[in-house]
Amino acid sequence: MSISRGAPKRPFSSMTSRARLARWALSGPPLTFLAIFFLIPTLIMALASFGWPGREGGFSPLWYHDAAGWHFDFTLGNYRDIFTLRLFLVLYLRSLGYALATTGFCLVGAYPLSLVIARARVGYRNLLLLLVIVPFWSNFLIRIYAWMIILGPQAALSRGINAVLGLCGIRAVNLLFSPFAVMMGLVYVSLPFMILPLYANLEKHDPALLEAARDLGASAWSCFWRVTFPLSVPGVIAGATLVFVPALGAFAVPDILGGTRGIMIGNVIEMEFLQARDWPFGAALSIILTILALGATGIAAWAARRGIKAYG
């Protein structure tokens, strides 16, 4: 029998027509669906943000053909308006501020809880974790509505605070429909998103590390800052991303709790699309919002990679 030196066909690792078919059968359906119902709509938005509004809402065509040939009707006007009108810049900055503050408050609120759950006895951990997830199962709007009740002018909290303020001779405040209400709402709906990744990280820490640190003379406090916290940075980053991005584009929370004083960029986008009907301008607003969100995710991914390098 002669030995052929040529490379044999490889039925498993290279592409025969059957393997190619299998590959498309698997990846084709999700790819096609998401291309049509996610990618193309997003691209349309990006394109539309360079257009003019139509006469009765919608878009005027970006290009058309007539006797004189092809016409292209692109404009940078929407972006110019956003960057020159102070109103919109302030709105973006305010939304960034809300998102950052939400992330900060969630971190501070979630850390002790995650730590307690991660260090609880194994049998209790799942129960404690379940207790975090259960409120999460209630409807999103209900969780916001709860704060309408708590902060409402008739509720005990408002009346108590205003009674004290009254004694000091200060004008009564309205807790609801305020930046404060937006903050509370955002933190409330976001908190579990910080707790879960933090817990998932802290739970993996080897208790021997802490014992080693204590053994080598670290106080409980420096143990935390030199061992636990640095090791949990990937969890913090994951949680921060999960909190920051939705908070930045929040719509329902400021819409329900914010009133006119607590308005965020998401509300303006909604108005441009459903009320003002200036779609190209709304498209530009949402494209910038998306760029900010993707930028944050990118920074987080970069930081996570660095963190992994630094802490192995």
Partner: protein, 257 residues
């Protein structure tokens, strides 16, 4: 010891922060006052109102239909995506699958609205379903992928080695082992769909309401403790659903965590 006590106290405060608002919602569903924010004696009045609120019941029905259809489709697409990504080490597909998670809801809502309007698709149940499928795929794909990642690759090789064709290997080994993950992914998709407000808000059009949309209207326009009553029932049914799943298919919940 003091530090430990402070830690537990902080954790307790966090739990309180999570639960007190919901307890208040439940409590006020039994309040006789017309305002959702004032206690005026116990009543079941609002539950009776709810039972006869045809619009609310219809909205709930819509929500269930949408969530069922969307989670079913998303389960198929998401599982396929997870399998393809793992098997062929794809780069573009996972990015596309996960992208909806890191784009703001509002962008997805308005871009789908524009898309449907430009295509002259009448907004309604179908447009909402399509929108929900597109953001639910990611959840299924994540859960199934993590299940796949935890699977010993030599199991499928062992099946092939012992005489199973690629198909048999998939049906007898991969699929049964993946089933808890697929179920958990589907459940997660179902809850995400039934809970969604923002994307539904933009893609439902004027004529169609879902439960969240109906609750939103009530909160914005005329809030009565009926909202509390529907909230309480929703919470109770989710709780019952999850508890029964944890009894019937505990593995499915594990996959979700």
């Amino acid at each position: 010891m003091a530090r430990r006590a402070a830690l537990y106290a902080a954790a307790l405060v966090a739990y309180a922060f999570l639960y007190v608002p919901l307890v208040i919602v439940v409590l006020f569903s039994f309040s006789a006052s017309h305002l959702g924010t004032r206690w005026a004696g116990f009543t079941l009045h609002w539950y009776r109102v709810l039972l006869h609120d045809a619009a609310m019941l219809h909205a709930a029905w819509n929500s269930v239909i949408i969530a069922l259809a969307a989670s079913l489709a998303a389960t198929v697409f998401g599982t396929l995506a997870a399998l393809a990504t793992r098997k062929y080490r794809l780069r573009f597909l996972p990015v596309l699958v996960l992208a909806p998670l890191s784009t703001p809801d509002i962008l997805q809502g308005v871009s789908l609205l524009v898309f449907f309007v430009l295509l002259n698709v009448t907004l309604g149940l179908k447009s909402v379903m399509l929108a929900h499928i597109s953001f639910c795929i990611a959840y299924v794909a994540i859960v199934v992928s993590s299940r796949l990642a935890g699977m010993d690759p030599s199991l499928v090789e062992a099946a092939r080695d012992l005489g199973a064709s690629p198909w048999k290997g998939f049906w007898l080994i991969t699929l049964p082992l993946l089933a808890p993950g697929i179920m958990a992914g589907g459940l997660l998709a179902f809850t995400m769909s039934i809970d969604d407000f923002v994307i539904t808000f933009f893609t439902a059009g004027a004529g169609t309401t879902t439960l969240p949309l109906r609750i939103y209207t009530m909160i914005k326009v005329a809030v009565t403790p009926e909202v509390n009553a529907v909230s309480t029932l929703l919470m109770a049914s989710t709780l019952v659903l999850v508890l029964s799943i944890s009894k019937l298919a505990p593995q499915a919940l594990k996959g979700m965590g």
